[in-house]
Symmetry: C2
Subunit: 276 residues, 2 copies
């Protein structure tokens, strides 16, 4: 494992590391923000941030301004890439399939199944690495944006004991019911929709999976709100199941990182309280 970037940032250190992933069968990069107290050796809880379509490990660390709050709260933030990468890894010219669009699942279909195992990578391989090489304790939470919000919700729903909390900005909550998800799941998982349910937050809640505490923010000027995100399906599923859900609709905000930057402090505050 090799550190390829490091920058002092809000008293801590924003770093990027590269490593050979056995799960994904390729070289991967991830960002890690270490607050001051982690650099001094104190073991800190870890928030895993899952990015959206087209992103890599850079987008969140350069645009969200989360480091300020992470240092205040003593949180490590780990930002994996959104898919396996490299010339040997299958790809698709579209922005919503292949590299940059891993959907945080384990693919079962050719040609994707060899490398596209982001579910196992984020849930299993990455935390082992982080907890071994950095001053991280075993308290973990998840947050993400759009496709990464889908990742945060589904990983937390399926592993409620591994994660203390989950939050999302503008998440895809029901991928089985929207164009982005239907396209990706058909390619990665095949035509049998029964296999899709394990990666669909709304379907998981209907099936009785109980999440850790959840916070969701959704901008009302989001250009994908009606067609791809449909947060009302998650609200309804939580209502029927009797699960609490802190859900904020935010007037005027769109799908961009300007929205994330504006509210990330609230999300880190939410996670910090549950990670204590």
């Amino acid at each position: 494992m090799k550190r390829i970037e490091h920058h002092a940032c809000f008293g801590g250190s924003q770093e990027v590391w590269e490593h050979a992933s056995s799960t994904l069968g390729c070289s991967m990069k991830f960002g890690i923000y270490l607050p001051k107290i982690a650099i001094q050796g104190e073991r800190c809880p870890v928030l895993y941030w899952l990015s959206g379509l087209t992103c890599n490990e850079q987008n969140f660390i350069t645009k969200a301004g989360a480091q300020r709050y992470a240092d205040d709260y003593g949180l490590i933030i780990v930002t994996p890439d959104t898919s396996p990468r490299g010339d040997d890894v299958p790809n698709d010219p579209a922005y919503d399939l292949g590299q940059g669009a891993g959907f945080y699942l384990n693919a079962t279909q050719s040609p994707w199944s060899k490398h596209y195992r982001m579910y196992d990578y984020v849930v299993d391989e990455l935390p082992v690495l982080i907890e071994k090489h950095f001053a991280a304790n075993e308290k973990r939470s998840l947050s993400g944006h759009s496709m990464g919000g889908h990742g945060a919700l589904t990983l937390a729903l399926r592993n409620p004991k591994r994660y203390c909390s989950a939050s999302a900005f503008s998440p895809i909550v029901a991928p089985s019911q929207v164009p982005w998800g239907i396209k990706a799941f058909t390619a990665y998982l095949g035509e049998d929709r029964a296999s899709w349910k394990q990666y669909d937050a709304v379907a998981l809640i209907h099936a009785g999976h109980q999440p850790p505490p959840l916070l969701i923010d959704q901008g009302e000027a989001d250009e994908f709100l009606e067609s791809q995100l449909k947060p009302e399906l998650l609200q309804e599923a939580c209502r029927v199941a009797g699960y609490p859900l802190e859900f904020n609709r935010r007037a005027c905000y769109d799908h961009s990182y300007y929205f994330i930057a504006s509210l990330i402090g609230e999300h880190l505050k939410f996670h910090a309280a549950l990670l204590k």
Copy 2:
């Protein structure tokens, strides 16, 4: 003048506008952050942010996280591009000359002199536009990074009544004495070094120009500190001239936007107090 982007951000609006610049003879873009009170119609002071080499109007608005503080203090932030742009505008393949490297001066040499007039653009054309089309009052300050720090210092030194304050991150303080400046000034201004002095902060101070209140932050891990920045020359010039200078050396910080993001709140606080 046409608005080509707008995003809700920290309660205000981050926008990008495009206009035909008569000074530069080309189409230009600039970013503008309007805090909540400006959107409601209250006239606000304006901080002009001047970016460094290779940047355009996007870098600061996506990476610095300044909007949070700007909304708190009721400041508009205007972020011009760093040079004239377009296929008709002369360019150079190097990153430190031509498009993306205007050095905030009025070029006198061929082929640059027709378009490269960033000094006049930032000092004269842009404020007229801003104060006419937005809820801006006539209080102005300057801040910038690296080449843009050079711009902020020299524009403020030459126009102390137009600007209430100036600040810089990692500025080029004596371009006549360092490789970036010597290369650019030779191309834009010619071999006669007497003409360089009007665009050199240290030379301007030696010539008796008195700045408005100045704040400078410089990272000690900055890879350009010794070769291109040489802040000690500015400190010495201010000491000799008897001008106050708030100068902070910051351990561990490098030349990146992570440094700017970490301290931009301090800079906006400094400007806000002087723009009241």
